[in-house]
Every structure is written in structure tokens, then in C-alpha cells.
């Protein structure tokens, strides 16, 4: 094995693919759950199969009896319990299906860069924007709350009582910081000033 240097185009393509992978979830937790479920079920079936192969009594239920029971459903057992079991199975199946089919997104943005692949967690973006909004509104850190979603930044400010704050000024500061960051996709900014102020902050 040797490490070779890539051409710039190949490297860009490689980095873009890495970026795409960093911005979408890998579904490894759903995969792990599915794998554990499949292995446990198969190990149990294997145990019963081997017991039946050597004509030993089954551990929980004999494969023969199990087949008869399945073919005779709903059988004589309590109906609601069986229905509940079916509903639970269907819900577990729905969870796996949704986690596989939904496009999914990690709480991150990419930061376009000529030579690197850069991703920033939304929390990091939010704390940087909160700092700027706080300085623009002249309030303490506890009076600013910033939420960052894929295409939207929501800035909540509770002004200090007696000090005038305009949402224009806060929005300008936050937009300026966002422009300097150059996130992709670039979120829009919404500033919300609370109507009541904080006394003595």
C-alpha cells in the first residue's frame, strides 16, 4: 500500500462525497438494532432446530407445534393480546422503514472552502451568532437565545428594561456574521424581540 497525491479535481470530488456523508445520518444505530434483532431471533430458531434434529424436546416450543399454532391463528388464546402483539410488531417495522426511507439530516452546515471540507455543528453556529446578537443588543448572555435550523436562524432577545434595542440592529449584526461565515445553504434570519424587558440585568 502506498499513499499517492490526488489531482485537484479528484480531491474536490472526494471531499464533496465526504461532505455529503458528514451531512446525512449513517443509520448505524437502526442498523445495529436490526442486526441484534436478527441475530437473536436466528440463534433462538437455530437452538430449536438443533433440538428437533436430535429428537429432543423443544426448549420453549417445538418447531412442529409452532407451525401448527401459526397455521391455526388466532387459535384459542386471548384475542386482544395477539392483536396488541401484531400492533407492536407493525410499529417496530414502521420505525425501521421510516429510518431507512427518510432522507435525514444531521444538525450541521457545510462551510464552503476551496481546499478543505468543512462542517460546522449548528450549535457552534448558534453560539457564534448569539455572541454577535448579544453585543449588538447590549444584553447579557442569558437574554439571548439562538436556534439554527437548516434554512432558518431564529434569534430571541429579551432586552434590558430601559435600554432601547431595535430588531433592525440585531438583524444587521447577525446577518453580517452569517455572511462572514458563508454557510451553505445560507439560512434566513428572523429576530424576535420580547415585548417585556428584564429588570436590573
Amino acid at each position: 500500500m502506498t499513499t499517492e497525491t490526488l489531482t485537484p479535481e479528484d480531491e474536490r470530488r472526494f471531499l464533496d462525497e465526504i461532505l455529503r456523508r458528514e451531512l446525512t445520518p449513517s443509520r448505524s444505530i437502526a442498523a445495529l438494532l436490526a442486526g441484534v434483532l436478527v441475530v437473536l431471533l436466528c440463534v433462538y430458531f437455530l437452538l430449536e432446530t438443533i433440538l428437533a434434529l436430535f429428537r429432543l424436546p423443544g426448549w420453549l416450543i417445538d418447531p412442529d407445534e409452532a407451525l401448527n399454532w401459526v397455521a391455526g391463528l388466532p387459535g384459542t388464546g386471548p384475542g386482544p393480546v395477539l392483536a396488541l402483539g401484531g400492533a407492536v410488531l407493525a410499529m417496530v417495522g414502521f420505525f425501521f422503514l421510516v429510518s431507512a426511507l427518510m432522507p435525514g439530516r444531521r444538525a450541521r452546515h457545510s462551510l464552503p472552502h476551496p481546499v478543505l471540507a468543512v462542517v460546522v455543528d449548528d450549535e457552534v453556529v448558534a453560539s457564534a451568532l448569539a455572541r454577535r446578537a448579544r453585543l449588538a443588543a447590549n444584553v447579557s448572555p442569558a437574554q439571548v437565545m439562538v436556534t439554527v435550523a437548516r434554512a432558518q436562524v431564529l434569534v430571541n432577545v429579551r432586552p434590558t428594561s430601559g435600554l432601547r434595542v431595535t430588531d433592525d440592529a440585531v438583524e444587521r449584526a447577525v446577518t453580517e456574521e452569517l455572511d462572514a461565515m458563508g454557510l451553505s445553504p445560507r439560512p434566513s434570519v428572523t429576530v424576535h424581540l420580547a415585548s417585556t424587558g428584564v429588570v436590573g440585568a
Binding site: E11, L82, G85
Partner: protein
């Protein structure tokens, strides 16, 4: 940036989900709607009779029926394949940043450990007030060796400034190592950032 087989993850979890969903809905219908239950019993009875017939027709001297041997082999291979699939999650770490033959008079080849990158960046960034920590991991993805630099900025730190400085440090690393490596920079919010204050003075 690891080798997690994402397409396979989606396919297998989706398939399992679809099977469980259909099975659950089937049980629900059979237990709640009598006509469906009757139809199921009429459908399943000949199948079970057929299976019993096959079981009687395949005797095994030491055991009951070699159909069970076939079932056991199938189950065992499903278990092994599943374990192999799960073990492939998150693979792809490498230890060497550079490994290449050396065309000098002396025999041997040049290898540089990925720790070199981590130590260099750590030393260069140690004095910074806006950075709480960093991890550097070497990965091998699609046969290409690349670095993943994880930075944990302090609350309120400006991401673009950090990235700018790290980029110039990485250029230095390329010069020092004599080899250009593709790099992913990830600015993450670790638990430490949650419990530390914002930097007040710079």
C-alpha cells in the same frame, strides 16, 4: 468519513422494517377480522400438511429429518452475514499518514504516523483561547488516506477564523510531511463547550 456501508444499512433496515410491518398488520387482521382468520387457516393448512409430508419423506438415520440440517445451515449463514455487516460499521481508521517507497540509494520505505499530524496541530493551537480541544484521526476511505480534524470551539468563537488558521497550519503540515493530504475539518459542540463560559476578552 468512515467506511459504514450506508446503502446496505438503508436496504437491510428497510427490508426488515417492511417485513415486520406486514407481519404485524397480518397478525392484527387475523386476530380482529374473523373472515380473514378463516381465509388464513384455509390457506395455511395445506402448506403445513405439505411440510409434514416433506418431513416424513426425508428421514435421517441418527436424527429426525435432514430438512432440519438445511434449516440450521441457512440460519447459521444468516447469523454470520449479519455479524459481518454489523462489524463493518464505522470501520476505516488508519494509523499511517504517509507510506511510500523511497527512491534513494538506501533500501526501505518512508512511513509517517498519523499521530504526527495530531501532535503538530495540538502544539500549534495549544495557546488559543477560543479552542477547548481537538482530535485528529487518520482515515482510509475508498483507498484514499485523509485526515479528520475535529475542533471543539469555545462558546461564541467565530468558526471562519478558526478554519482560516487551521488551514494555514495544515499547509505547513503538508510542507513538513512532503505530501498533500485531503482534510475534513469538523467544528463540533462537545460537552465541554456546554459547561464553559464564553471568552470575554481577546
Amino acid at each position: 468519513m468512515n467506511g459504514t456501508p450506508r446503502g446496505l444499512n438503508r436496504f437491510i433496515t428497510g427490508l426488515l422494517g417492511l417485513l415486520l410491518l406486514l407481519l404485524g398488520l397480518g397478525i392484527l387482521l387475523v386476530s380482529l377480522v374473523p373472515p380473514v382468520a378463516q381465509a388464513w387457516r384455509d390457506f395455511a393448512a395445506p402448506l403445513v400438511r405439505g411440510l409434514h409430508g416433506a418431513y416424513e419423506a426425508t428421514p435421517l438415520p441418527a436424527g429426525s429429518s435432514w430438512l432440519y440440517v438445511v434449516v440450521a445451515v441457512v440460519l447459521l449463514s444468516v447469523i454470520l452475514l449479519t455479524i459481518r455487516w454489523i462489524a463493518g460499521q464505522g470501520q476505516g481508521r488508519a494509523s499511517l499518514l504517509v507510506e511510500r517507497p523511497d527512491h534513494s540509494a538506501t533500501d526501505g520505505e518512508v512511513t509517517i504516523s498519523g499521530n504526527v499530524a495530531e501532535q503538530l496541530l495540538r502544539a500549534a493551537l495549544s495557546g488559543r483561547g477560543d479552542l477547548l480541544g481537538l482530535h485528529v484521526v487518520t482515515y482510509q476511505y475508498r483507498g484514499i488516506t485523509a485526515l479528520r480534524v475535529r475542533l471543539f470551539p469555545r462558546k461564541g468563537a467565530s468558526p471562519q477564523k478558526l478554519v482560516q488558521d487551521v488551514e494555514s497550519l495544515l499547509e505547513g503540515l503538508d510542507l513538513m510531511v512532503g505530501h498533500h493530504t485531503p482534510v475534513l475539518v469538523h467544528l463540533g459542540a462537545g460537552t465541554r463547550a456546554m459547561f464553559t463560559r464564553e471568552e470575554r476578552v481577546r
